[in-house]
């Protein structure tokens, strides 16, 4: 029966198609909040029909987002009691292979056959969401290709067709036979406000009137390191007398001589992807030539002349990744500009660019970003333009390629503020009051941009209002700048960050940033004028505006404060480097080029190139290279005008590297391994097993003849039903009597959470609850606190730690106030990571189901994988992985060990002595936020008398990695790794939440132990070893980050092994039962991208209701 008869089901199509902004901007939530299940399903049917037949891109996309949101947020509310469903494997395959239309068809057919369910809705939500983004991305790409000035590059498929020629000025050799350098210097962009991320292409193309940004081109100097601000980006192009394309990235310490066309399109092969993207996007080697069999010599022959080649060099002056200053886009712009100048494609060889030229350079930079599989906003080429400008979306008009497809153009308009509009004094004042910093965090802003797009298209009420406010703030900032009121600018940027931006995306802030703002306010009061978020999120590049009277002192103070705060939080948040403070100046000319004869290459070039030249036979060097060596000699000896006295020393450092670093690293690694219970004999056995093929990813699987079926109704207990009051009372009594303790598993670092950054997930302040950012551990303790307040007995809270998490967790736990007992159980086992075998890498990439990526990203991935295979073979398969920080080379050995560790390290023995009443442990993962001492569930465990009661939840699409199954007729948990065929998993209705209720005495029996003998270390050790031998060992691949340079990170897949707790259910002597609990109780937060949905579907509110923060 309908909850609301007033709402016609056709309303949402009207919302999408209406020309009236008021109707078009109606929030989906407002329409859906009172609708019944039947009405929602009817509406989905209509929207699905509409999106199939509408020829308007944005209508289709908006309908897709509506469908996603209804299935993700509204239908589950109305599907209580219909949780279970089966996702057809064909639909899952469709999703992985980006065949979203087919996936939707299969899911809808299943929904028609078996009725709606939360499981099916989770699949449909994912499919509609992916299809919406795919549609948008395809359109942006199409627009990039159809921008006038870009189209010809896709038609030019053979070197014979290449229409470009290098300008003759670049072919004039000097007396030494050297060609001149064309040097481009470019600023980065600093945005004052982006009106709620309105520079996202999708947003600007649908809502051009709301897409506005104010940004400035700035030159930078690292405070205390550089003398004065300069354009931080430098790109150099010159002709060389060898038929090769030489690419050199000084800051990434990489160079390559490219001799085949294929290499140019192989972006992830080395660190030169950005330079390659620039060469392609600038048209020197156009995108249409990909796949052409010709050598690069035939292109260079046409472009430069017979026997000649090109060298392109980039350098970024000490700006680390994550600066939020759009360094990579502006570097791309700089490189593209220098290439286009050199090939007559822009009007001026030297000096600044005209407005038309800047626009085509920006269009090419967008193309370059697409080619490289990345994506910035449309304001990001801001450093190519001069001064401070207002960048606005532009409505598509007849004649534009976008006309009739989207409301706005791909490229925005730039209005550069004149000195009359924003005075010279104001610009100076800005420089005197704003402290620009890199806070040290390097985070992926991609998920935030996806969330913004989604919320914009759904017009979620709160976010839409916040967007209007952000747009109004941009106008106020512009007025304040024109009035020269910097204090007001600071107030506005601060308000922008604290209010609308965080209302749209709470995740743009973090505890680090907020702590810095609080400290600024506390220290400087009224003289701190405001905080300034740069780019997509805070934590990396940021601004702090102070009264100019204190700016100098505040800069030093802020540098110290950031460092101290970073030290305090570095185990909780992913920092890539120590914070830095910049001096900056507004650049009033935009990107600029000069033609230099007899000039030296940028600083750092010779250190990179000369060692390689010296290794070669002098006779084999080209005359340019011989001249280069003579130039270096002159620079070192001071016999040329531009002497570089430090060059000789730096060259020596390169040629004769310091040798002790690796030894030091090995020593400390060996020490750490010893301290943490590393078993060398077992490790060598493992290596042997891996090399011989006895262990490996394929061997993780159960035998192919194992019979896997879904469990029967009698195999489970259902905690979602009300339980008899008498049982509940018994459980409450047990809680009050101190019979229950909590064991939070926190030995692992949660590598998926920060993509292997090595921070402690338990300590990550992931979400604001109770007005503050809360960590996982704090949240778990808050639940225990509420239990204590309710039943008068604060349960003992045990946190198991590992080598990486022990110190930080102990320190953190000490500071947390908790009336009950807090105990840390330190892990006593550790493994050493290994280089993976090529066999396992291929198995993971080719045999296991993979999410196919977007076209360009997939090319990048394939290219990166080829490089990683080469790395694994060159580094030695199954060799010890030691080329990283010692902590990153070690690994925890799986959560099975965490319970035995309680026995081995004496924690349980001590606890039982101090608290003999203790009978039950509730074990849970650090990311299972809903796990709590619930009397209902405890009652089911107590009355069953089982040794272990595992909590399971109904499976949704994202719950991958095994589940509850009948294996050869016996119910047990099966890890995803062990599934003989991935299809089997899709038969299963329940997913393992890992939360386990343990009867301590019965578990001790399984180990062959009892309370009385827990202090006998030898007996305990033997008992653990004996049971451990019966637990399967899994080989897994984990991504590990290796940090280097200026905030750069590489990710390597490494092999490690683990034993998993869920396999206890496979032991026949262990009496296990399985309890189905509500999803919110058992769902795990594995990736930060889940957070927004978790907040919006009220899961966060439900968790918060279980917590007592003080």
């Amino acid at each position: 029966m309908s909850k609301s008869s007033s709402m016609a089901t056709a309303d949402l199509v009207e919302v999408i198609t209406s020309n009236d902004p008021l109707a078009r901007n109606t929030s989906l939530d407002a329409v859906c909040q009172n609708l019944s299940r039947e009405e929602l399903l009817t509406m989905c049917g209509q929207l699905d029909q509409f999106r199939r037949h509408s020829d308007n891109l944005y209508h289709r996309v908006r309908a897709l987002f509506f469908l996603y949101a209804i299935h993700r947020f509204h239908l589950p509310r109305e599907l209580a009691g219909r949780e279970c469903g089966v996702i057809p494997f064909t639909a899952y395959e469709g999703l992985l292979n980006r065949r979203f239309q087919e996936a939707i068809r299969d899911l809808l057919v299943e929904q028609e056959l078996s009725g709606p369910s939360i499981t099916l809705s989770s699949g449909l939500a994912a499919a509609y969401h992916s299809l919406a983004f795919q549609t948008l991305a395809d359109q942006v790409r199409k627009s990039v290709r159809t921008v006038k000035g870009n189209q010809w590059m896709f038609r030019t498929g053979h070197p014979a067709d290449l229409p470009l020629r290098i300008r003759p000025e670049l072919l004039q050799v000097d007396d030494h036979g050297c060609f001149p350098l064309l040097r481009e210097r470019t600023s980065v962009r600093m945005d004052f406000s982006h009106s709620g991320w309105s520079d996202i292409f999708f947003l600007g193309m649908d809502f051009p009137e709301g897409a506005r940004v104010i940004n400035a081109s700035v030159d930078l100097a690292v405070r205390g390191k550089h003398a004065q601000p300069e354009p931080p980006i430098e790109a150099v192009l010159r002709v060389i007398d060898e038929p090769v394309l030489r690419l050199v990235s000084i800051d990434l310490d990489a160079s390559a001589d490219i001799r085949s066309l294929g290499e140019v399109y192989d972006f992830a092969r080395d660190y030169l992807g950005l330079l390659k993207a620039a060469v392609i996007a600038s048209g020197l080697i156009p995108p249409g030539m990909e796949g052409c069999d010709e050598g690069i010599e035939s292109v260079l022959n046409k472009l430069v002349g017979p026997g000649k080649g090109l060298e392109i060099v980039s350098r970024v002056n000490d700006i680390p990744k994550g600066s939020r200053l759009a360094v990579s886009t502006n570097l791309l712009g700089s490189l593209i500009s220098v290439c286009m100048r050199a090939s007559h494609q822009v009007s001026r060889l030297t000096g600044t660019l005209s407005e038309e030229d800047r626009r085509i350079v920006a269009a090419r930079a967008i193309l370059g970003e697409w080619l490289g599989g990345s994506g910035g906003g449309w304001q990001d080429s801001g450093g190519v333009w001069p001064g401070i400008k207002l960048i606005s979306g532009s409505p598509a008009e007849p004649g534009d390629p976008e006309h009739g497809i989207s409301r706005g153009r791909l490229l925005p308009r730039h209005h550069v503020f004149s000195k009359e509009e924003i005075s010279h004094e104001t610009r100076t004042q800005l420089q005197e009051s704003l402290i620009l910093v890199h806070g040290g965090m390097a985070q992926n802003v991609g998920p935030i941009l996806e969330m913004v797009t989604e919320k914009y298209l759904l017009r979620s009420g709160q976010e839409w209002e916040a967007r209007q406010e952000a747009m109004a703030i941009l106008d106020e900032i512009a007025s304040a700048l024109q009035a020269g009121d910097l204090r007001e600018v600071g107030k506005l940027t601060g308000r922008n960050f604290a209010e609308p931006l965080q209302r749209i995306i709470p995740w743009c802030s973090n505890r680090y940033t907020e702590s810095l703002v609080e400290q600024c306010q506390a220290k400087y009061g009224d003289q701190f004028w405001g905080f300034w978020m740069l780019g997509g999120m805070a934590g990396g590049g940021m601004g702090f505006i102070f009264d100019p009277a204190v700016k100098g002192e505040a800069s030093d103070w802020l540098a110290d404060t950031m460092l101290a705060t970073k030290r305090d939080l570095e185990h909780s948040l992913p920092f890539a480097m120590d914070p830095v403070v910049y001096d900056f100046e507004i650049n009033d000319s935009g990107t600029r080029a000069e033609l230099v004869s007899d000039g030296a290459m940028p600083r750092g070039y010779y250190e990179l190139i000369v060692p390689e030249l010296l290794r070669r036979d002098m006779q084999g060097l080209s005359s340019t290279q011989q001249s280069e060596l003579q130039r270096v000699s002159g620079l070192c000896r001071g016999t040329t005008a531009a002497a570089d006295p430090g060059l000789a020393h730096r060259l020596l450092d390169r040629i004769l590297p310091e040798a002790h670093t690796e030894a030091e690293n090995s020593t400390s690694l060996a020490q750490l391994l010893e301290e943490n219970g590393f078993d060398l004999i077992a490790h060598n056995q493992l290596r042997e097993d891996i090399l011989s093929g006895r262990l490996g990813l394929p061997q993780n699987r159960l035998p192919a003849n194992a019979r896997i079926e879904d469990v029967y109704a009698e195999d489970i207990l259902d905690a979602r039903q009300a339980i008899p009051a008498s049982l509940g009372q018994a459980a409450e009594k047990a809680i009050a009597a101190g019979e229950v303790a909590v064991l939070t598993l926190a030995a692992g670092v949660g590598s998926r959470w920060t993509q292997g950054a090595g921070v402690v997930k338990a300590l990550h302040p992931f979400c604001k609850m109770g007005g503050k950012h809360r960590t996982f551990l704090e949240t778990h303790l808050a639940k225990s606190r509420q239990v204590g307040q309710r039943w008068g007995q604060y349960p003992t809270h045990i946190v198991s730690t590992g080598y990486m998490t022990d110190g930080p967790i102990r320190g953190y736990l000490d500071r947390l106030d908790y009336a009950g007992r807090k105990v840390v159980s330190r892990g006593k086992s550790v493994g050493l990571r290994m280089i993976p075998t090529a066999r396992d890498l291929r198995f993971a990439w080719e045999e296991m189901q993979q999410q196919l990526l977007d076209e360009q990203q997939e090319k990048m991935r394939q290219s990166a994988r080829a490089a990683l295979l080469h790395w694994a073979e060159a580094a030695g398969e199954a060799a010890d992985y030691v080329d990283n920080l010692p902590m990153q080379c070690m690994h925890p050995v799986g959560h099975w060990y965490e319970v035995p560790n309680l026995l081995r390290n004496g924690v349980l023995s001590d606890l039982l002595s101090e608290q003999p009443s203790l009978r039950y442990l509730m074990l849970h993962n650090i990311d299972t936020l809903g796990a709590s001492i619930d009397p209902g569930v405890l009652a089911l465990h107590m009355t069953s008398g089982a040794c272990l009661s595992f909590e399971v939840i109904t499976r949704r699409l994202e719950d991958r990695g095994g589940g509850l199954a009948r294996v050869d007729g016996r119910p047990r948990l099966v890890e995803g790794l062990a599934m003989p065929d991935e299809r089997e998993e899709f038969k299963l209705s329940y997913y393992n939440s890992m939360t386990t209720w343990i009867d301590i005495d019965r578990l001790l029996e399984v180990f062959g132990l009892s309370r009385g003998i827990l202090d006998q270390a030898d007996v305990v050790d033997e008992a653990i070893r004996s049971l451990g031998r019966r637990m399967p060992t899994y080989v897994t691949l984990k991504d590990v980050k290796k940090r280097w340079g200026n905030g750069q990170e590489d990710v390597f897949p490494v092999s490690q092994f683990e034993k998993l707790w869920g396999d206890m259910t496979a032991l026949s002597e262990v009496d296990c039962q399985f309890i189905v609990v509500p999803t919110v109780r058992g769902q795990q937060l594995k990736e930060q991208a889940q957070l927004d949905g978790w907040l919006r579907d009220q899961s966060a509110a439900q968790i918060e209701s279980l917590c007592a923060w003080s």
Binding site: Q151, T156, D161, H344, Q345
Partner: protein, 279 residues
């Protein structure tokens, strides 16, 4: 508008020898390229011809002009400042009349009974304005020609109102500024090397040359662009082809085109087929 004079520029540093090359004409006679050009001019009823040459080259050109030699006025380009400057040197010759202008490194092959020059002059006389001959050209050849942007004239197929003229544009620039309705993708209307120009062009050339800095040269395209901004200026697609004999194999292709449109067509075709068959 009467067009009774023609100016041919042949003073380019690297083009001095091009008009002196010999080719076999349609009738099978061995002629110089210059003589063929002069035939083209003559076919349009023009007897008064000026030839702008490098200093000291006049006599060689007179001889190469064969029967046309006596009616050529030579202008030597001392201190050359580019193509535009070369044309300007013949200003006195043109006086206040419109004139036909050809470049000396092209040969023209008509596809109908009227020569290319005749077709062009007819358009100019009908429309009473400057007209440049044009030819749709693929973008990979843009580096060799000037190109125009404009709009087709209603009900006059092949004739365009010129808005923009750019010298040797890259396709990046051409796509933004030179798109003309009705052209194939990747094709632009490039100059044919043949123009009928009103005397106003000389004022523009003079300004261009006066504004040059040391080392710079003046091209014609820039002045044609300015002409389009100051008076009616059309472009006409002719029923014929131009061959740039300054390009690699340019002379060979021009020779083949002439031969295949002439009396020896069958012989040449037979020889070509045999040649191909033997390879």
């Amino acid at each position: 508008m009467q067009v009774t004079k023609a100016i041919i520029t042949a003073a380019g540093q690297d083009q001095t020898a091009l008009p002196l090359q010999t080719v076999v004409d349609r009738a099978g006679n061995v002629r110089t390229a210059l003589a063929l050009l002069l035939d083209e001019v003559s076919s349009a009823g023009i007897d008064d011809v000026a030839l702008v040459v490098s200093p000291g080259q006049a006599e060689r050109y007179r001889q190469a002009a064969s029967v046309h030699g006596d009616r050529i006025a030579f202008f030597e380009q001392h201190d050359p400042r580019g193509y535009g400057d070369a044309l300007l040197r013949a200003r006195e010759f043109a006086g206040d009349q419109s004139f036909l202008h050809l470049v000396s490194d092209h040969l023209y092959v008509t596809r109908n009974c009227k020569s290319c020059a005749t077709q062009l002059i007819e358009v100019a006389q009908r429309e009473q304005c400057s007209v440049s001959a044009i030819q749709p050209t693929r973008e990979n050849k843009l580096a060799f020609f000037g190109a125009i942007g404009g709009a087709p004239l209603a009900r006059q197929p092949g004739i365009y109102e010129v808005h923009t003229v750019l010298e040797k544009p890259t396709p990046t620039v051409a796509e933004q500024q030179l798109i003309v309705a009705g052209q194939r993708a990747g094709h632009y209307l490039c100059l044919f090397g043949m123009h009928v120009l009103t005397p106003g062009i000389f004022d523009l050339l003079e300004q261009a040359v006066a504004g040059l800095e040391d080392g710079q040269t003046a091209n014609l395209s820039q002045s044609l662009h300015e002409l389009a901004q100051s008076q009616r200026y059309l472009a006409s697609q002719l029923d014929g082809e131009r061959y740039n004999i300054g390009e690699k194999y340019g002379l060979l292709l021009a020779q083949l085109a002439i031969a295949l449109s002439g009396d020896d067509r069958d012989n040449v075709l037979t020889e070509l087929v045999e040649l191909v068959a033997k390879q």
